[in-house]
């Protein structure tokens, strides 16, 4: 029932502007797959190509083995949840949810129970006979969800479905969506620009930028092993520190940060020149030796303390120290030395491409 979605070198033009520059993805049946990227990177464009509302100007999209490029939108067997919910305002909640079943010519006798079941699944059975105009955002969201999955589509598409909700409801609804998806096992393609949401909800994430896919992987890999500088910067917080690398071979090398201080890492191939070291705030450690700097500012956040540290040369880094490891909060202006957790440090060249192999 749930389908594999293969996107093969998809291209989209708006006039002369190339909004998608050849995107390839292979989404497994039943997978919760997220398109993540900054606003304007082409997520909606790609999603609407899959739905059939945008033409496909190059490449191919397949559901299982069926090429759907020329299949009209209403024959693609897709459920979609829109950013603004797109509830039919002249129909009750139950009529909204039943709409797709009627279109599919499901026998009348089956529609009632199915609608009831769907509404119960999203916990709004008591709203069945209400008109949408006096529902809250969260309730409308649930109607939209029920309406989309009740037709048991091969693919479920969601375009920033939580962006119109307040922060608390957003967290609550994302759990509802995730559990529902698990339970129904429908292949789901989810669009968001919120990296935290993406990490929390997805089986796999494709990070996009300027109409291109930068990395596809499971959330933990995306976070810990970003394949390029863009992903490292977009997902979570990363410190980027300038260095130079000089090596004729792959393997261990010391990246020079200051004449006195260098960082050991594993090169993937020979490299000569300027590079940036990337490290998460929790991968920087206070130490006796290392890059000298001084504390600019500190914020106590309960389980950790967030420091802003100015290092030699004026660059400001963020460092997190866990309260389970220390009880002392360093005062502003204190001189410190910073070391790296060597296993988790990567380096990127000036184009943002990864130069190193990750430690285990």
């Amino acid at each position: 029932m749930s389908q594999r979605v293969v996107i093969d070198n998809a291209v989209k033009f708006y006039g002369d502007f190339k909004a998608l520059k050849g995107v390839s993805l292979d989404i497994q049946p039943g997978e919760f797959f997220t398109l993540l990227g900054p606003s304007g990177c082409g997520k909606t464009t790609l999603l609407r190509m899959i739905a059939g509302f945008n033409s496909i100007d190059g490449g191919e999209i397949r559901f299982d083995d069926r090429v759907i490029n020329d299949v009209p939108a209403h024959k693609r067997d897709i459920g979609m949840v829109f950013q603004n919910y797109a509830i039919f305002p002249h129909m009750t909640v139950a009529e909204n949810v039943a709409y797709g079943l009627k279109a599919k010519k499901v026998p009348k006798a089956e529609i009632g129970p199915k609608v009831k079941e769907a509404l119960e699944l999203v916990q709004i059975a008591q709203l069945a006979d209400r008109k949408p105009s006096n529902l809250s955002g969260g309730q409308q969201q649930r109607v939209a969800l029920a309406r989309a999955f009740i037709i048991e589509p091969g693919v479920l598409l969601m375009d920033e479905p939580l962006s119109n909700l307040d922060a608390k409801l957003r967290v609550q609804m994302r759990t509802v969506i995730k559990k529902l998806q698990r339970r129904l096992g429908i292949t789901t393609i989810y669009v968001t620009h919120d990296q935290e949401e993406a990490l929390a909800i997805s089986d796999r994430i494709a990070v996009m930028k300027d109409g291109q896919v930068m990395q596809v992987n499971v959330p933990s890999e995306i976070y810990t092993h970003p394949e390029n500088q863009f992903v490292a910067g977009f997902i979570g917080v990363s410190n980027f520190i300038n260095c130079t690398i000089d090596s004729n071979t792959a393997g261990p090398v010391n990246a020079v940060v200051t004449p006195e201080f260098s960082v050991p890492m594993q090169l993937a191939g020979p490299f000569h020149g300027e590079a940036v070291i990337s490290a998460r705030p929790e991968q920087l450690l206070f130490s006796e030796t290392g890059i000298p700097g001084k504390v600019l500012f500190s914020t106590f956040l309960g389980d950790f303390i967030e420091y802003e540290i100015e290092i030699e040369g004026g660059q400001v880094l963020q460092l997190n120290e866990y309260t389970k490891d220390t009880s002392r909060i360093r005062p502003d202006g204190e001189s410190v030395h910073i070391q790296f957790d060597p296993m988790r440090v990567g380096a990127y060249d000036e184009n943002g491409a990864l130069l190193t192999v990750w430690g285990q």
Partner: protein, 549 residues
Amino acid sequence: MVKKKQLDFWSIVKVAILLFICLTILYPISTVVIRSVTNAEGHVTLANFLKFFTTKYYLDVLKNSLFVSAITTIFSIIIGVFMAYVLTRYDIRAKKLINIVIILSLMSPPFIGAYAWIMLFGRSGLVTEFMLNVFHITLPTIYGKWGIISIFTIKMFPYVYLFTSGAMGSIDSSLEEAAENLGSSKWQRLRDITIPVVLPSILAGSVMVFTSCISDFGTPMLIGQNYKVLATLVYEQYMSEIGTSSNFAAAVSMVVIGLATAVLIFQNVYINRRNYNMSAMRPPQTVHLKAGARVAVMIPVLIVVFVCMLPQLVVIVTSFRNCNGPYFVEGWSLDSYRMIFTRMVRSIKNTYVFSVFAIIIMVVIGSLTAYVTVRKRSALTQITDVVMMFPYVIPGAIMGLSYIIAFNRKPFFLAGTAFIMILSYSVRKIPYTVRSAVGFLHQMDPFVEEASINLGVSPGKTFFKITLPMMLPGVISGAILSWIETINELSSSIMLYSGKTSTIAVAIYNEVARNSFGTAAAMATILTLSAAIMLVVANVVSKGKVSIV
């Protein structure tokens, strides 16, 4: 095969609309163009235009048209802007009622103003005789230009009023408050915020007034006497050329079309339509008036409202008076109504039958057109949109003339049929339906339609199951305006009717021409009441958002 067909639903619609406007607008108008540059033998010539532009009589007619239209426009701006300002800014009671009265004045049959003026100020008018007998004062004649201008002003100022009050109501009060906060004086606020926002609307309303004046036929026909204007000239020339090929009438028509087009181009170039589409989060607050100021403001407002209602009142009152031929005699009765329901049943029936058929055509084509213009925007739909608005500004007499030329030869022989009347009504009055539907569509969420398609309903079916029900209030309120304008339509009807296809408007015109004022009044009352009732319905359907403009 099936897939292809459904895929192309909107393409088919686009082609169908294109065919419709080609056949009903472009083709007839092109015949007028061709007629205007040929002579009776069919040879190409500019003689018709030469005749127009070198004969003093015709140039005077052109001058007359421009004169009454210009003066009416000026008066309309003064009254319209005053009313708009007062009604949007002060806490006047019964605003809704005043609004309806003003709209009704705009939507009244084209000749009842003239009729009422004849009743009141004509040679043996009520007021004329009263002044003469009681005060021994001879009132100046209302026949001629000042009669036309005064009636035009009453009928047309609502355009300026509606456009302007729409814009004034859309100025967000926080905008003005912000300006006030920044320390600007009341006058500065007026200059920097109110006027720039409102000016394009005033101009847009003025353009409507001007073109409507050029087109109007009934008023100058009834009250102009020797004062000829372009619309009456077309009719006269056509009547005197009957049996010939109406080349000169076509040339005069081209002059009018040229004028209307020039005004429209002016509007499109100098008035940015988007300007007055500001939507106010917080509509402007109304100012409470103190007793003295209230009287000072209310007196002119009430005068305007009274004068607006005057034609309708005169018509209704006289419809119940006893008549003896052209003269009113003592006493009241339903005689006039009895008379029209025995002698003129056919005209009454025709009016409602034709208008219902026309409205069906307008609703179907109008809502589809509105949809394609808003949702399937392309160069083609833009052109369709503009062409469809054409009949809005082309005088009815000219549309009528073009239909006679176009549809009275192979392969169409439609002259004198009900069909040609219905067709011309549909084409001429459809802009109201389209405009209103477009307005509603712009506020509708396009994703709702995609949600339906997504759930497996084809685009065609989605239109009927989702889009149409949602835009229905817009379509209905627009269609009601179209309908009111249809039953009131005189200028094209008078060119196209035959004995069997006469309508109320034509019958009133003929009755007035025969000085049978009682029956004319009874029929005009029927029209006015129909319009008033439907206007209220439109207001309810659209939740008070009925827009004429």
